[in-house]
């Protein structure tokens, strides 16, 4: 009976750990994807409606993590500070790119904004590709390995 319970517990633990690892990489990719969408949205809005940075950040409808990043950047900017992305879910280079984009947007003029959008869009595309690659190579692999580990533990217990 104890063996059965242990087997079930190990199996469940391994499955949940695998799923959690995958979810982490999925949400990282989702934040990068949201960032890329925000760049494209900002590009449209600033070109045709000349929407200001604060309204862009305030009104953009995004998922939980990226919304938190936007809210923090908006608070920083309103306080006269440099916007800083501190999301723990992202890698250092992604945080740097996001911060640089927000700060660039607050400093560029009409003529330099196109260069900023061009650069940031390309950088975000690259980050997105890397995040998706990581999701496949690490997230899904960890999920499968954890499942196998669970099965292995069950076999050992038997």
């Amino acid at each position: 009976m104890i063996k059965l319970v242990l087997m079930a517990v190990f199996m469940l633990l391994c499955i949940f750990s695998g799923l959690a690892a995958e979810a982490f990489f999925k949400s990282r990719a989702a934040v990068i994807n949201d960032f890329l969408s925000f760049i494209r949205y900002a590009k449209r809005e600033t070109e045709f409606l000349k929407t200001d940075v604060e309204s862009l950040m305030e009104e953009y409808s995004a998922g939980g993590e990226f919304k938190a990043i936007l809210d923090k950047a908006l608070t920083d900017i309103r306080a006269g500070k440099k916007a800083e992305c501190t999301s723990e879910r992202l890698k250092k280079e992604a945080r740097a790119e996001i911060s640089a984009f927000f700060n660039g947007l607050t400093e560029c003029d009409y003529y330099s904004k196109d260069a900023l959008f061009g650069y940031s869009e390309a950088a975000a595309e690259e980050l997105k590709q890397n995040a998706e690659k990581e999701l496949k190579q690490k997230g899904e692999l960890i999920k499968k390995l954890m499942f196998l580990l669970g099965v292995g533990l069950v076999v050992l217990l038997i």
């Binding site: 000349k50 929407t51 940075v53 003029d109």
Partner: protein
């Protein structure tokens, strides 16, 4: 509103020199002293302005979005809420003999509008019956203030359209009649044609006209039977009409304002027969 624009420290220094409700102009010049003006006098603070403070004011004025104010910057100013206008000076960027923007801005001239309710009553004889009216004044002469009150006065009885290119007329504290419409932050030349057809005004009020650029629109409006009230930079009727003879045909009444002894002082009134 001024505090929001200047930031707490600069604002505190400015109101130490002059009570906030009396401030008409604030000048920030890099490495020079903060200057504040009311309707009569100028005051200098002991505080020396740093370039960073100018940059911070620009950031607040543009909501951290300089790119959205390109057209205004090209014309040498930045608008802020409440009709506050910020004149800028610095290094001009010229391309193909056209000024495209300013960079390294080193001076700001912050103009704070005030409503002087009833100032148009002094020239009520020119407003009833109303004929095309030109208000002539040097800078800081009270032209926009008087025009705003003329718009208020006329909008009690006529359909008035204010082409408020720089957003200085429709300020929150101002009172107007029920029959007024505003087209704000849009160049007169772009707004006039559509507005004439769509809004059917009886009177159009312009903040500042520049005849070489706006002459065509003014003639068109006058030909269509709509009355005009406008302002122009000059110090006398002769000067204004001498420079731009077409004004003599367009306008029947002229009010000349002076900034001495205070902004808005009426220097002369001319009505053609």
């Amino acid at each position: 509103m001024l505090e929001e624009l200047l930031g707490a420290e600069l604002y505190a220094d400015a109101i130490r020199l002059c009570p906030p409700q009396k401030i008409c102009e604030i000048r920030l010049r890099a490495a020079r002293k903060l200057a504040v003006k009311d309707a009569f006098l100028s005051f200098l603070s002991e505080r020396t302005i740093a370039v960073e403070e100018i940059s911070s004011v620009i950031k607040r004025a543009t909501k951290n979005s300089l790119y959205a104010y390109q057209e205004e910057l090209r014309k040498g100013y930045l608008p802020f809420k409440g009709g506050i206008r910020i004149g800028v000076a610095g290094e001009g960027v010229v391309e193909r003999e056209r000024l495209i923007t300013y960079k390294n801005i080193t001076s700001l001239c912050i103009r704070v509008p005030h409503e002087v309710y009833g100032s148009a009553e002094k020239i009520s004889q020119l407003l009833n019956p109303f004929e095309n009216l030109l208000i002539i004044a040097p800078p800081f002469g009270g032209k926009t203030t008087l025009l705003r009150d003329v718009a208020r006065y006329l909008s009690l009885t006529s359909d008035v359209l204010a082409l408020d290119e720089r957003g200085e007329m429709n300020i929150p504290e101002a009172h107007f009649g029920e029959r007024i419409d505003f087209i704000s932050d849009t160049p007169k030349s772009l707004a006039a044609e559509g507005a004439l057809r769509a809004m059917s005004p009886e009177v159009i009020v312009f903040d500042e006209i520049f005849p070489p650029k706006d002459g065509g629109i003014l003639s068109e409006i006058a030909r269509s039977g709509i009355k005009i009230a406008a302002g122009i930079h000059a110090d006398s009727v002769e000067n204004a009409v001498g420079r731009y003879p077409e004004l003599n045909e367009l306008f029947r009444s002229f009010v000349v304002l002076s900034n001495k002894p205070r902004a808005g002082s009426i220097k002369s009134v001319v009505r053609k027969r």
